[in-house]
Each structure stands twice: as structure tokens, then as C-alpha cells.
């Protein structure tokens, strides 16, 4: 049954069959990979960040730093409490604000504000920041992440929607205000 070129008809059919399956497999891989990457591609299409209200300015007295919370703009109905995010709002002088992410710039643990010593302290690995968010001591390589803010109709708005991480800090995005570090 073998042909002159050394390949039998059946062997050729097996190879053709494998090739056919390979093409189909490849064609199926594309949508599967797209599906798996949807968390990344969604961001590139519409972006995750949007302007959110933190409430009336009266909630943030001048010269003080207060905890504020907001509902993340991108949530599913089953996200529960995990869709609520906290941040620190510092009213510098009644005019200008700083809004810090709750996440330590080291590894993302929740920093706590100590008004008496004017420090943010992290409970995980001992990072510390001054009241303007700049690094004071410990393992962080940089100051706290900051959100862009704006004031409209007596309300404080921030641009948020994504957990800030050292690789993609909020403050590095366009318009982010940076402080002395």
C-alpha cells in the first residue's frame, strides 16, 4: 500500500487529520485567550477610572485628615462589601486637598492615620509616611499613592476605580499631583 515517496495513504491521512485539528485548535485558542484576558482588554477599551463623589466638603475640615469611603465604579452584584473602598482625605489649608489611597505603597496593606504624630503607619511591614504622604521610613520605596481630585458644587470628587499598586500607581497617571518625596 505504500507510495513511492515512502508515505502510506493512511499515514498521510493521519497527518492531514492532525493538521486539521491543529488549525481548528488554533482557531479556538483565539477566543479562549481573549476571554481569559478580558480583565486586561476591558481596561484598554473603556478604562476603569471615573470621577466619584466623596461627599460634601464640610466632611473634611481644614487642616485635618479624614477617612472617606466610596463604592467602586466597576462592581458586580456579587462583590458585596469588597466593592467599598476607603481613602484618606487631607484638607491641607481649606483650599487644596490631598486624597491618598488606603493601600501602602510597599505591598498594599491599609495604612492608618495618627493625627497626634501626623503620621500614616502601616500595620504589615512597618512603613510610615508623613502627613503629606511622603515616605518617612520603612520598606516603601515611595510616598503614598494619590488620587486626582476636583471640587464641584461643594462636593469633593476623586478619579478612582482601580487598586493602586507599585507597578501602576494612581499618582503616575496624567494630572496626578505629586508632593515632595
Amino acid at each position: 500500500m505504500s507510495a513511492e515517496n515512502g508515505m502510506s495513504r493512511r499515514a498521510l491521512l493521519v497527518k492531514l487529520g492532525l493538521f486539521f485539528n491543529g488549525v481548528i485548535g488554533l482557531a479556538l485558542t483565539v477566543p479562549i485567550v481573549r476571554y481569559l484576558l478580558s480583565a486586561v482588554t476591558q481596561e484598554r477599551k473603556v478604562g476603569y477610572d471615573s470621577w466619584l463623589s466623596l461627599g460634601a466638603l464640610e466632611k473634611f475640615p481644614a487642616g485635618q485628615t479624614r477617612l472617606a469611603t466610596y463604592r467602586n465604579p466597576v462592581v458586580n452584584s456579587w462583590d458585596g462589601e469588597t466593592g467599598n473602598i476607603a481613602c484618606w482625605v487631607r484638607n491641607v489649608d481649606g483650599q487644596s486637598f490631598q486624597v491618598f489611597a488606603i493601600n501602602c505603597a510597599h505591598l498594599g496593606c491599609p495604612v492608618r492615620w495618627f493625627a497626634q504624630s501626623s503620621l500614616f503607619l502601616c500595620p504589615c511591614h512597618g512603613g510610615a509616611y508623613y502627613q503629606d504622604g511622603s515616605r518617612a521610613s520603612g520598606p516603601p520605596e515611595r510616598g503614598l499613592f494619590q488620587y486626582q481630585y476636583k471640587i464641584e458644587n461643594g462636593n469633593l470628587f476623586i478619579k478612582a476605580g482601580e487598586m493602586p499598586t507599585p507597578g501602576q500607581p494612581v499618582a503616575n497617571k496624567a494630572g496626578g499631583k505629586t508632593t515632595c518625596a
Binding site: A39, V74, G80, I102, F114, A136, Q168
Partner: protein
């Protein structure tokens, strides 16, 4: 009896498994290997089976939803009959499994079992270890509490440091822009489908190779492994002086596995389940997240790495560690098996044990973390206040109010982030104290902007009193001279 035999024969005709199973069970193993040192692999398998069974039982109730997972764990703990016990079995089983896999690995390493021809068995074993740790971490996430939530934050922050693709890796890990429902679903899929599937497959391969290549012979000093002769020598060993695996060797495996199951059951019944801790609500920030026991060393390491070296070490360290483990059988595939002739192997194990043990111990104390409530809950010891001036006592108040106590201990009480201050006046003179308080440095924040001159004066006056009775505080001898000879205090 006749009926059982008939039924058996009916299945045997169709399955034909009887003979291969009998052969596998009774295959000869070297006499020395019927040892209590050779029971850890089978014990790991036993605990793995326990984990599968208890895992399936938990999945009957558990809801892998960010909004409901924590509640379903509470139902398991408090409402479902003995739900707490099944959770406890699964949690303690997890700890025992990691421990036994590590012990198994150390034993295999010290007995030279990774050498020719069992290199691939070792490599598959390394993968099994990684999967076991992966199960441990993903399981900790499914216990969806505050520790799990912030632990995911740490995982995301580490992944974000991958060069170039870091932010995408974070999105893939979290399944979205924040830690939420999609994140939990991801880790549920990993913990319940992906990693267990791989584990089953690799355990199968691992066992197949143990059967095919035979159990490692007991290492004798001087019995050197050579590729050319080993297989023949091993064959001779099993044929001349071998015993049947079943029953001569297996009874110790069975007894030890039973003992381990009993221990897990005891721990589960006595200590109960792990958590869940506080609700996974990211707006509750009064929390100090901690990883589970087998990741505590990493927690400590992340606190001690210098900031500039942290990212490179986090990115490259694990790769090097895994590469070393995978390369081991190729680098040292021949030669002595006995630990008595391999001092470097023994020292490596000791060094790793001491290092990991020390880091784990440190992580149980977290000396690098401020004690967040020390300033309001730990008073200044009275011996530091009795007989002091008003200014010095005012300084003690500043010490408390400005939360110095959170990082500095007095009489063993308070934070360990900075040095204990019981003898600080011996180390620093007045000018140095002022400078340290105002400018900070050496990992201490600067308090210059946050203390009035009066507060600084009082605080330093208090700090100057912190020295043992019999020892004079540090002083700058040149200062008095520089300021005028008249101020030099005559020596008594």
C-alpha cells in the same frame, strides 16, 4: 465464599487488573527500606486524599462569592452540624500536608534519593511541592476574611512589580481593577479545579516512577551511585536481599498514615477551624493582616529586605530557588548517597531550617510593626516618673501623645520598631537627642514639623533621664568648653 470468588472472577475477566496490582503490591524492595524513614511519601498521599474528601464536603455549603463567602463560612462554623469540624479537618490537613511534604523532601534529599535514575521523580516532586504551597495559599484566600483580602493586595502589589507587564499581571490575578468577586472566583477555580487536577496527574506520575524504578535503597557510606552500574546493583539488591513491599514494608506506612490522620483529627477537634477572621470589608482598616503559618517566613523577609533590593529579589529569588531545586539531580546525579559523606547537604538543610525558623519566629512577634495602640494602652512605667521634674514629666506626656511608644519600648512594653529607650541617655547626648527627634533618620520619621519647641525641650528632658542609676548619661565634653570654661562641671 463461592459467590465472592465468582464476582471477583467476573470483574477480573473484564478488567484484568488483578495480576498487575498483585505484582505492584508484592514487588521486592531492599530490606533496609522497610523503615520508619520511608513513610512520609505515603503519609502525604493519605493527607491529600483526606483533603479531597473534606474539600468536596466543604464545597457542599461554601459559596464562592465575594459577597457571601464569609457568611457561608459562618454558617459552616455555627449552623451546619459538625461543619466546624470538617473545616477544621481541611485546615489542619492543609498544615499537616505542607509539613509532611517538606519532611519528605528533606528525607529524600538527605538520603540521596534524587540521584540517578530518580532525577525525574525528584523534579516531579519539586512541582508537587510548589502545587502544595499553591493549594495552601489559594485555600487561605477562599477563607475570605480580612487576612485573605489584604493578602491578595500583597500578591497584587508583588505582581505589579514585574517589569513592563506588571499592571496586566495584576488585572489577570484579580480578574478586574480591584479585589472583588472575580478575584475570589479565580482563586476558587485554581484551588478546586486547576491545581488539584494537576496534583492528581503529577502524583500519579510520581507514584508510577517509584514503582518502575523501585524505592531508593538505604544509603550506605561508600556505596557510590554510578550511571553505568547502578541499575544492576539495585536489581541485585532487591533480588538477593529484598522483601515484598506488601506486607513487609507497607505496614509501617499504614501505621504512620493512621497516626497522622489521628493527629489531624485531634488537632481539628481540640483547636477547631481556622477563622474566618474579620469580614472582608476594605473600609475596616483596623486590621493587621497576617499570612498563614507556612508563609510567615516570607512575611518577615518582606519586612527586612532593603527597599532598593526588594523588587529584584522578589522577581529573581523564587526563579533561582526553583532552578536550583530542578537542577540538583543533574548537578549531583552520581556519587555518595549517604548524608554521612555529604556535609554540605546536611549544612544546607541546617542553614535553611535555622533561617526559615528564625524568620517564622520573628513573624510571630512582628518587631517591625508599630504597636498601633501602645500610646493609649501602655502607660509609662512608674519608675521613669517618680522623682522627676515637672518638665521631665511633661516630656513623658509628649512621649505618649506623639505615639513614640508605638515604636519604642520602655521596660519591655511597647513597639519594637525602633530601639528600646530604657538606656537611650547613655547612647545619645542632649544635642544628638534633639537632632534625632527633629530630623529623624536611621529609619525614624522626622518630628521637627510636628513638635513645638517647648514639646521638643520637654521630650528631650524626659529622654535624658532614661539611663540606669549607676551610669552617667552621655554628654558632649567639648560643648561645655566651647560655650565657656566657667560652665565646666568639676568632677566630683
Amino acid at each position: 465464599m463461592r459467590l465472592i470468588e465468582k464476582v471477583g472472577a467476573w470483574f477480573e475477566l473484564r478488567l484484568g487488573l488483578g495480576k498487575p496490582i498483585r505484582e505492584a503490591a508484592t514487588h521486592p524492595v531492599p530490606r533496609d527500606t522497610a523503615s520508619w524513614f520511608y513513610v512520609f511519601g505515603s503519609a502525604a498521599l493519605t493527607v491529600f486524599i483526606l483533603q479531597i474528601v473534606t474539600g468536596i464536603l466543604l464545597a457542599l455549603i461554601y459559596v464562592p462569592s465575594a459577597g457571601e463567602a464569609w457568611n457561608s463560612l459562618q454558617i459552616l462554623n455555627h449552623t451546619v452540624s459538625l461543619g466546624w469540624f470538617v473545616r477544621a479537618l481541611h485546615g489542619w490537613g492543609s498544615n499537616f500536608m505542607v509539613a509532611i511534604v517538606l519532611i519528605h523532601m528533606v528525607q529524600v534529599f538527605l538520603f540521596g534519593a534524587y540521584k540517578f535514575p530518580r532525577e525525574l521523580t525528584w523534579i516531579v516532586g519539586v512541582l508537587l511541592l510548589l502545587m502544595t504551597l499553591g493549594m495552601s495559599f489559594t485555600g487561605q484566600v477562599l477563607r475570605f476574611d480580612q487576612d485573605a483580602y489584604w493578602g491578595l493586595g500583597i500578591g497584587a502589589s508583588i505582581s505589579s512589580r514585574v517589569p513592563i507587564v506588571g499592571p496586566w499581571v495584576v488585572k489577570l490575578l484579580l480578574g478586574g481593577p480591584i479585589i472583588a468577586g472575580a478575584t475570589l472566583s479565580r482563586f476558587f477555580t485554581l484551588h478546586v479545579f486547576v491545581i488539584p487536577g494537576l496534583l492528581l496527574a503529577f502524583v500519579g506520575v510520581h507514584l508510577l516512577m517509584v514503582l518502575k524504578l523501585g524505592i531508593n535503597d538505604w544509603p550506605m557510606p561508600g556505596r557510590v551511585v554510578r550511571r553505568a552500574t547502578y541499575l544492576e546493583e539495585y536489581h541485585e539488591l532487591t533480588q538477593k536481599d529484598g522483601v515484598a513491599f506488601v506486607p513487609d514494608a507497607v505496614w509501617k506506612d499504614i501505621v504512620f498514615s493512621g497516626f497522622i490522620l489521628l493527629s489531624i483529627g485531634f488537632c481539628a477537634a481540640y483547636f477547631g477551624p481556622f477563622g474566618p477572621g474579620g469580614q472582608p470589608d476594605p473600609t475596616i482598616i483596623q486590621t493587621a493582616p497576617r499570612p498563614d503559618f507556612f508563609f510567615l517566613w516570607l512575611y518577615a523577609l518582606l519586612s527586612f529586605l532593603p527597599p532598593s533590593a526588594e523588587t529584584p529579589i522578589l522577581m529573581i529569588g523564587p526563579a533561582i530557588g526553583i532552578a536550583v531545586l530542578l537542577a540538583l539531580p543533574f548537578v549531583a546525579g552520581e556519587g555518595e548517597k549517604s548524608w554521612k559523606r555529604r556535609p554540605i547537604a546536611v549544612l544546607t538543610i541546617l542553614l535553611l531550617a535555622v533561617a526559615l525558623g528564625t524568620l517564622t519566629r520573628l513573624a510571630e512577634h512582628t518587631p517591625w510593626s508599630p504597636v498601633m495602640d501602645a500610646w493609649s494602652s501602655l502607660p509609662i512605667p512608674s519608675q521613669y516618673l517618680v522623682g522627676r521634674t515637672a518638665l521631665e514629666r511633661r516630656g513623658a506626656l509628649v512621649f505618649q501623645v506623639k505615639q513614640c511608644h508605638n515604636c519604642h519600648s520602655l521596660d519591655e512594653q511597647g513597639g519594637k520598631r525602633g530601639p528600646a529607650l530604657d538606656r537611650v541617655a547613655l547612647r545619645l547626648n542632649e544635642d544628638q537627642l534633639i537632632r534625632q527627634v527633629i530630623q529623624g533618620g536611621g529609619n525614624m520619621p522626622a518630628y521637627g514639623k510636628n513638635l513645638s519647641p517647648a514639646e521638643t525641650t520637654a521630650l528631650v528632658a524626659f529622654l535624658k533621664t532614661l539611663h540606669p542609676g549607676g551610669q552617667a548619661p552621655a554628654r558632649n565634653a567639648s560643648r561645655a568648653i566651647a560655650l565657656g570654661a566657667g560652665e565646666v562641671t568639676p568632677r566630683p
